[in-house]
């Protein structure tokens, strides 16, 4: 590591003793450390401060750690994320890994092990980035280009081609669309969509989600009134299907 370029580590942890202890040790190790005590602040710091690694707790007030993880992974596939959680059940580990976490340590953890893992993750990150032309992730073809029906979505150029012709996607549209396209067939609740797609906490108006769905349907559906890709599920939220759903099953 070059001595004058400090690697940045963002710690998202709600217990301030643990957060400060991690801060102390990571600083002594020569990293620049940022602390966020909840999910909303964590996501904001991730956007503005651009850390090289994120240490993430799962049980957080507001947005939980797994939603933060998914939110970040929608935009950035590469940033190393280490989950530090009291949840030791295999279930959570599997979930975390499925959503794209790089490492999972259970509390209480050994300090030495934690520091070595952080060091390893930071060392390895530039190797997988070296072939990457686009610094912000979004590099692999399969995560950038999607087709369903006659529609095409290209996240690299942020364009979508569908019934409505070629459309330029806004950043927020792209994020939400990616969430749907990477989770086909899985029902997504409005709350989850807000948390993952926007980084909002519960209680914020869920109308926002509905407005975006209306737009997606106009872009991609043959008939926006009877959608066959972006389907509403009563009192839950929405589900996306790669293959159009026949009318009678709706």
């Amino acid at each position: 590591m070059e001595p004058n370029v400090k690697k940045r580590v963002l710690v998202i942890e709600d217990d301030n003793h643990i957060a400060e202890g991690l801060n102390l040790n990571l600083s002594l190790q020569g990293y620049e450390v940022g602390i966020a005590m909840n999910g909303v602040a964590g996501l904001q710091m991730w956007r503005e401060w651009r850390p090289d690694l994120i240490v993430l707790d799962i049980m957080l007030p507001g947005i939980d750690g797994l939603s933060i993880l998914r939110n970040i992974r929608l935009e950035d596939e590469k940033i190393p994320i280490l989950i530090l959680s009291a949840k030791a059940e295999t279930d959570y580990k599997v979930k975390g890994l499925a959503y794209g976490v790089d490492d999972y340590l259970t509390k209480p953890f050994s300090l030495e092990e934690f520091l070595l893992r952080v060091d390893r993750l930071l060392k390895r990150a530039p190797w997988s980035n070296s072939s990457d032309v686009f610094a912000n992730g979004f590099s692999e073809k399969e995560t950038n280009f999607f087709t369903f029906g006659d529609n095409q979505v290209d996240f690299k150029t942020m364009t979508a081609t569908g019934k409505a012709g070629k459309v330029r996607l806004t950043e927020q549209e792209a994020r939400l669309l990616k969430l749907f396209l990477t989770n086909p067939g899985k029902p997504l609740s409005r709350d989850k969509l807000l948390q993952i797609g926007w980084g909002y906490t519960k209680g914020t108006t869920t109308r926002t989600v509905d407005n975006f769905i209306v737009r997606f349907r106009q872009y991609f559906e043959d008939n926006p009134k009877t959608p066959s890709y972006f389907i509403s599920i009563r009192s839950i939220g929405y589900v996306f299907y790669v293959d159009p759903v026949p009318d009678k099953e709706k």
Partner: protein
């Protein structure tokens, strides 16, 4: 839905057994009437003495059978309800263990982290003192958690050995607040003393303090306001004294104002990780109130609008 799962579902078993019982009852009655009418024919054909046999017992038999079957159905139903209750308790207990281990692991993690840091690095005296303070407060958290479990066990088994004292409640609350002021440093706690009456009551002091501690910490813990407030007022009604603990916290959903006193109950959901705490605090509060033959209720104008906890005592003349 999974077919085999559906077959062993308790509701299905309940409905099925009741149907089977009702069918068997009608079969009993049908066969009984069949046989007795056949018997009657035989009696008539052979010119036997009719008075020697049955005759008008038919209705009596049907009634007895119906009552017995009714009792069995009630029995099944009661077992069913108990089973449901047990299932709920089991689920809550499972949640509790999950959350409580989290609650225990957090201070342990912090302790381990600092101890290992001390092993690894030579820290300045100033820093050492600061982190030792942290460790001490983590130990405090741990022993508090352990005490809570022990107290709960004692209170539940009615084994709590405490001396009753005869004291003024407002003054006890004031004293409790003074003794623990360091815990409520950034909060505005106001005890509105009643005008005339000192309200002397007989109660177990450590238990009452436990109740206060739980109410106070809840008001602060579940609070997003810049300065958490607790207002304590005393209200005299015809036969009751109501002590209100009003806060400006996150409030309670109307549907949950009763449930929050249940054992292991937590607002929020275990699966989306929004539930926090042990689910024991308010249960303990309720149990303590009950031990003194008092009552606890909660009310709230809704989420985000604060909550009021009422301790209702009989008015002493």
């Amino acid at each position: 839905m999974n077919r085999t799962k559906w077959l062993i579902h308790p509701v299905f078993i309940l409905v099925f057994s009741i149907l089977a019982l009702v069918t068997s009852l009608s079969l009993y009655i049908y066969w009984y009437i069949e046989i007795s009418s056949g018997l009657k024919l035989i009696v008539e054909r052979f010119n036997l003495d009719t008075g020697q046999f049955l005759t008008s017992q038919t209705w009596f038999v049907i009634m007895v059978l119906t009552v017995l079957v009714g009792v069995i159905i009630m029995g099944i139903f009661i077992i069913f309800v108990y089973n449901l209750k047990n299932l709920r308790l089991y689920r809550l207990q499972h949640n509790f263990i999950n959350n409580f281990t989290h609650e225990l692991k957090t201070p342990v993690t912090s302790l381990k982290l600092y101890l290992e840091t001390f092993l690894k690095h030579e820290l300045s005296r100033e820093n050492q003192l600061k982190y030792i303070q942290y460790m001490l407060s983590d130990v405090g958290r741990l022993s508090e958690d352990i005490n809570r479990i022990l107290n709960l066990a004692q209170i539940e088994s009615k084994n709590y050995t405490g001396e009753y004292v005869f004291q003024s409640l407002p003054e006890t609350i004031e004293k409790f607040y003074q003794n623990n002021a360091h815990l409520f440093r950034n909060c505005a706690v106001q005890i509105h003393f009643p005008e005339k009456e000192p309200y002397f009551y007989r109660f177990i002091l450590p238990m009452f303090e436990m109740l206060l501690m739980n109410l106070f910490t809840n008001a602060i813990k579940y609070n997003n306001s810049a300065i958490p407030r607790i207002d304590i007022t005393f209200e005299k009604q015809q036969k009751k004294l109501i002590i209100r603990f009003k806060d400006n916290g996150i409030g309670i959903d109307k549907s949950e104002t009763k449930k929050i006193f249940k054992k292991f109950y937590q607002v929020g959901h275990a699966d989306d990780m929004s539930a926090k705490g042990s689910g024991l605090g308010l249960f303990l509060v309720d149990q303590i109130a009950k031990t003194h033959k008092w009552k606890m209720t909660a009310e709230s104008a809704g989420p985000g609008k604060g909550a009021i906890f009422n301790l209702i005592l009989p008015l002493r003349s």
